[in-house]
C-alpha cells in the first residue's frame, strides 16, 4: 500500500516542481498564476494522499483540501482583479515591463 | 447490462426528440427524418476552416458528446437501473456538465472564426449567470433527501414530488437547465440571427452531425435530471418505473424545445442581471424555506 502513497507523493512533488519553474520563468502575470495553480495542485495531491493512507479517520485532512481549493479561487479572483487594473493603467501585465513596481 | 439499457433509452429519447424538433421546424412528422438528415450530414463535405487550432476543432464535438452522456450515468431509470449509483451523484452531474462550457470554448476557439469565437466566449458569460442557479436548487433537493445519491433523492419524493415541495427551486432549475443546454431563448452562443450559427457556424459534415447529436443528448440529460430532482423520477401509478422515467423525461425535453419557439432571445445583459439580482436571492430563499420545512416536518 505504501507504493500507492509514494506514487501520489512523487506526482505531487513533480507538479510542484513544474509549478515553481512556471511561476519563476514566465513573464506574463496570468501565466505566473498558472504556475501557482500547479503548485497548489501538487499540494492538493499530497493532502489527499496523506488523508487517505495515513489518517482516514480524521476528516480535518479533507477539510484542509477544501481550504486549499478556496485559496485557489481567491488567488484567481484577486489575481485577475489586479491584472485588469494593471492592464487598464499600463496596457501590459508583463513582468519585464513592471519595473515601476521596484522600490 | 444496465449500461446497455440506459444508453439505448438515451438514444431512443434523443431520436424521438429529433423527430419532434423536425416536426416543430418543418411541420412534418417523420420518424425517419433524423436518420436521413444524419446520413446527409455524413455524405456532405467536411470543410475545415483556414488555420484552425486543429486539436480543439476536432476534439470539441467529441468532448461535448462524452460529457452529455456522462451526465446520464448517475441518473436512475428505475430503482436499480442506473449505470453508476455514486455517493455524490447530484454533484457529479454538475461536474460533468461543467465541461459543456469547455467543449464550447474549444469549439469556439478552434475554427479561427469571429462568429464562433464570440459564441464560445458568450457561453462563458452565460455560465456565470446560470451556474449558481443549477447548484443552489440541487442543494435544496439534497437537503430534503439528506443525501447526494440520486436514487435516494428519487426515493425521498415517494410521498410528495419536489415540484410541489419546492416549486421555486423547480422553476429556477428549469430555467437554468435551459440556459445550460443553450436552447432558445437562451441560445446566445449559437444565435442564428445574431452570429449566423455561432459555435456551429464553422462545422460541417460529420462534425456537425456529432455536435447536433450532442446538443440533443444534453437536452435529454438535463430533462432526465429535472425528472430525478423534481418530478419524482420513476414514481407513478400503473406503468412500470422505467416507463414513467422515460415518459416524464420526454415530456420535459419536449417542453424545453417548445418554450423557445414562443419567446425572443434574451439579451445577454438582462440574463446576467436577472440571474444575479433575482435568481440567486430566490434560490437562497428556496434553501431557507426547504430548510425550515425539513426541520418542522421531521
Amino acid at each position: 500500500m505504501t507504493a500507492v502513497l509514494i506514487v501520489a507523493l512523487v506526482t505531487g512533488a513533480i507538479l510542484f516542481g513544474i509549478g515553481v519553474y512556471g511561476a519563476l520563468s514566465q513573464t506574463n502575470l496570468v501565466m505566473i498564476m498558472m504556475g501557482v495553480e500547479l503548485i497548489l495542485a501538487g499540494a492538493l495531491v499530497n493532502l489527499v494522499a496523506f488523508w487517505r493512507f495515513l489518517h482516514p479517520e480524521s476528516y480535518s485532512g479533507q477539510m484542509f483540501v477544501l481550504v486549499v481549493m478556496t485559496v485557489m479561487a481567491v488567488e484567481m479572483a484577486v489575481g485577475f482583479g489586479v491584472a485588469i487594473a494593471r492592464f487598464r493603467a499600463k496596457g501590459s501585465v508583463e513582468m519585464e515591463e513592471a519595473g515601476d513596481l521596484k522600490g | 447490462m444496465n449500461v446497455v439499457i440506459v444508453l439505448l433509452a438515451l438514444l431512443g429519447s434523443v431520436w424521438l426528440l429529433a423527430v419532434v424538433e423536425g416536426w416543430t421546424t418543418t411541420g412534418r412528422l417523420s420518424l425517419s427524418a433524423p436518420l436521413l438528415s444524419g446520413l446527409a450530414h455524413l455524405g456532405r463535405e467536411s470543410i475545415v476552416p483556414r488555420t484552425p487550432d486543429r486539436l480543439f476543432f476536432e476534439a470539441a464535438p467529441i468532448l461535448f458528446l462524452i460529457v452529455a452522456v456522462l451526465g446520464v450515468t448517475v441518473l436512475p431509470l428505475a430503482p436499480t437501473l442506473v449505470i453508476a449509483d455514486l455517493a455524490t451523484g447530484a454533484l457529479f452531474i454538475n461536474a460533468a456538465l461543467a465541461y459543456v462550457l469547455v467543449a464550447l470554448i474549444m469549439a469556439g476557439w478552434g475554427p479561427n472564426g469571429a462568429y464562433a469565437m464570440i459564441g464560445g466566449w458568450r457561453f462563458l458569460g452565460q455560465l456565470i449567470a446560470y451556474a449558481m442557479l443549477i447548484v443552489m436548487p440541487i442543494t435544496a433537493v439534497a437537503m430534503r433527501a439528506e443525501s447526494l445519491v440520486t436514487t435516494v433523492i428519487v426515493a425521498s419524493q415517494e410521498s410528495l414530488w419536489n415540484i410541489v415541495y419546492q416549486p421555486l427551486g423547480f422553476v429556477l432549475f428549469f430555467i437554468a437547465a435551459m440556459a445550460l443546454a443553450f436552447r432558445a431563448p437562451f441560445d446566445l452562443p449559437i444565435a442564428e440571427g445574431e452570429l449566423g450559427g455561432g459555435v456551429d457556424a464553422e462545422y460541417t459534415g460529420v462534425r456537425r452531425a456529432v455536435l447536433r447529436l450532442a446538443r440533443l443528448t444534453l437536452v435529454v440529460t438535463l430533462a432526465a435530471a429535472t425528472v430525478v430532482f423534481y418530478l419524482g423520477g420513476w414514481h407513478g401509478p400503473l406503468l412500470p418505473p422505467w416507463a414513467w422515467s422515460l415518459i416524464k423525461t420526454l415530456a420535459v425535453a419536449v417542453s424545453m424545445l417548445l418554450v423557445g419557439r414562443y419567446l425572443p432571445r434574451i439579451r445577454e445583459a438582462d440574463l446576467m442581471r436577472w440571474c444575479w439580482t433575482l435568481g440567486i436571492p430566490l434560490a437562497l430563499v428556496n434553501i431557507i424555506i426547504v430548510g425550515l420545512l425539513v426541520l418542522v416536518v421531521s
Partner: protein, 178 residues
C-alpha cells in the same frame, strides 16, 4: 491494490504531462486548457484514491476556473493563438534550477521518510461525504465560515479594483457600466 496503484500512476502521469504542456505550448488558450486537464487529472487521482467527494468537486471547480483563465489569457496577450512565436519566458536557467531543486527535494522526502503504517481500507464514499459534512458544520465550522467570508471579500475587492474609475462626468450613468 495494484489496480489502485495503476490508476493513481496513470492519472498522475496525465497530470504531469498536461502540466508540462502548459509551459511548452505557445498558444495561450491551449495552455489554459492544458492546465484544466492537468487539474482534472488531479481530480481523477483523488477518485482513484477513493476520495470521491473531493475528486468530483475538484473536477467541477476547475472546469470553470480554468475556462475563466483562458479568457484572461486571450485578453492580456497580444498573440493568444501563438502564431507569432513570441518568447514569453525569462531567467530560464534559474527557474529550471529552482524547479528541479524544489521537485527533487520533495521527491527525496517522499522516498526517504518513514511514513509509518498505511491504512489499507478507506471509509466508503457515502460515509465520507457524511463525515465531511459533520466536520464542516461541526468542529471546523469556524474555518469553513472564514473561508466563505474570505471568498466573498476577495470577490468584492477584486471587482472594486477591476471596475473603471468613475469620473464625475459619467458618474450618472451607472447602469451602463454593469
Amino acid at each position: 491494490m495494484y489496480a489502485q496503484a495503476f490508476f493513481v500512476a496513470i492519472f498522475g502521469l496525465a497530470a504531469i504531462g498536461f502540466g508540462v504542456w502548459v509551459f511548452r505550448t505557445s498558444s495561450m488558450v491551449r495552455s489554459a486548457l492544458a492546465l484544466l486537464f492537468s487539474q482534472t487529472a488531479v481530480g481523477c487521482m483523488f477518485l482513484a484514491m477513493q476520495t470521491e467527494f473531493l475528486g468530483v468537486l475538484q473536477i467541477m471547480m476547475m472546469a470553470t476556473e480554468m475556462s475563466i483563465m483562458a479568457i484572461f489569457m486571450v485578453m492580456f496577450m497580444m498573440d493568444p493563438g501563438g502564431l507569432g512565436g513570441m518568447d514569453m519566458t525569462h531567467q530560464k536557467r534559474f527557474s529550471i534550477g529552482a524547479g528541479v531543486i524544489a521537485g527533487g527535494v520533495a521527491i527525496a522526502v517522499a522516498l526517504l521518510a518513514d511514513w509509518g503504517p498505511v491504512t489499507p481500507q478507506a471509509p466508503d464514499a457515502a460515509m465520507q461525504t457524511r463525515e465531511l459534512g459533520m466536520e464542516l458544520l461541526g468542529r471546523s465550522m469556524l474555518i469553513f465560515e472564514t473561508a466563505g467570508i474570505t471568498i466573498l471579500t476577495a470577490m468584492i475587492a477584486a471587482t472594486a479594483v477591476a471596475i473603471p474609475v468613475q469620473t464625475l462626468a459619467n458618474g450618472g450613468d451607472k447602469e451602463d457600466s454593469e
